[in-house]
Amino acid sequence: GESVGLHLPTLSVQEGDNSIINCAYSNSASDYFIWYKQESGKGPQFIIDIRSNMDKRQGQRVTVLLNKTVKHLSLQIAATQPGDSAVYFCAEMSTGGFKTIFGAGTRLFVKA
């Protein structure tokens, strides 16, 4: 069946280092991908998205990379800060479809 999964459920990084969170997806028809950040006690928050006609997109301190050949998505966070500690979800959608499928989430710990 369709699935969006993550390689690492927990990631611990030192403050100031770069973080990389990985995600694998299995639906070849998916053409829109999103990363969400969920802090404790809050709802998921949109971080960055990318369409399948791109392989890289940059935001403020974040970069999303898409490799359609191997169905892999990654989120890179530069100069990770304590405020980046959260659970990160990748999500996928097929344009024309109506639902977004979420991956299982990766918990990011930032050590001061």
């Binding site: 829109y32 999103i34 969400y36 969920q38 006690g41 809050k42 709802g43 998921p44 928050q45 949109f46 998205d49 659970v87 979800f89 959608m93 479809g97 109506f98 639902k99 977004t100 499928i101 979420f102 299982a104 989430g105």
Partner: protein
């Protein structure tokens, strides 16, 4: 102003009771959703409404009934609550299904 607001934030109730969770969005979005997040943080879609019309109805017990009186509101009513219904329920909205805005969640505990 909160973009997507849901109430209550916490709900503790006994098995067999009926309860409702309300959601309102002031973003002018055309689509609203209910997601359930289990204890392992897994997010699963339950329902989606587009301009008051039901467009997604996942395999959810019919004890769960969504209602959308207008495109800014999507409420969730749950009958005969069971222990397994304990979870965090998130409302979300989007325009054209891209990039959701989530509410802060309702933590439902059934005892």
């Amino acid at each position: 102003d909160t973009a997507v607001s849901q109430t209550p934030k916490y709900l503790v109730t006994q098995m067999g009771n009926d309860k409702s969770i309300k959601c309102e969005q002031n973003l002018g979005h055309d689509t609203m959703y209910w997601y359930k997040q289990d204890s392992k943080k897994f997010l699963k879609i339950m329902f989606s409404y587009n301009n008051k019309e039901l467009i997604i109805n996942e395999t959810v017990p019919n004890r769960f009934s969504p209602k959308s009186p207008d495109k800014a509101h999507l409420n969730l009513h749950i009958n005969s609550l069971e222990l397994g219904d304990s979870a965090v329920y998130f409302c979300a909205s989007s325009q054209d299904h891209f990039g959701y805005t989530f509410g802060s969640g309702t933590r439902l505990t059934v005892v």
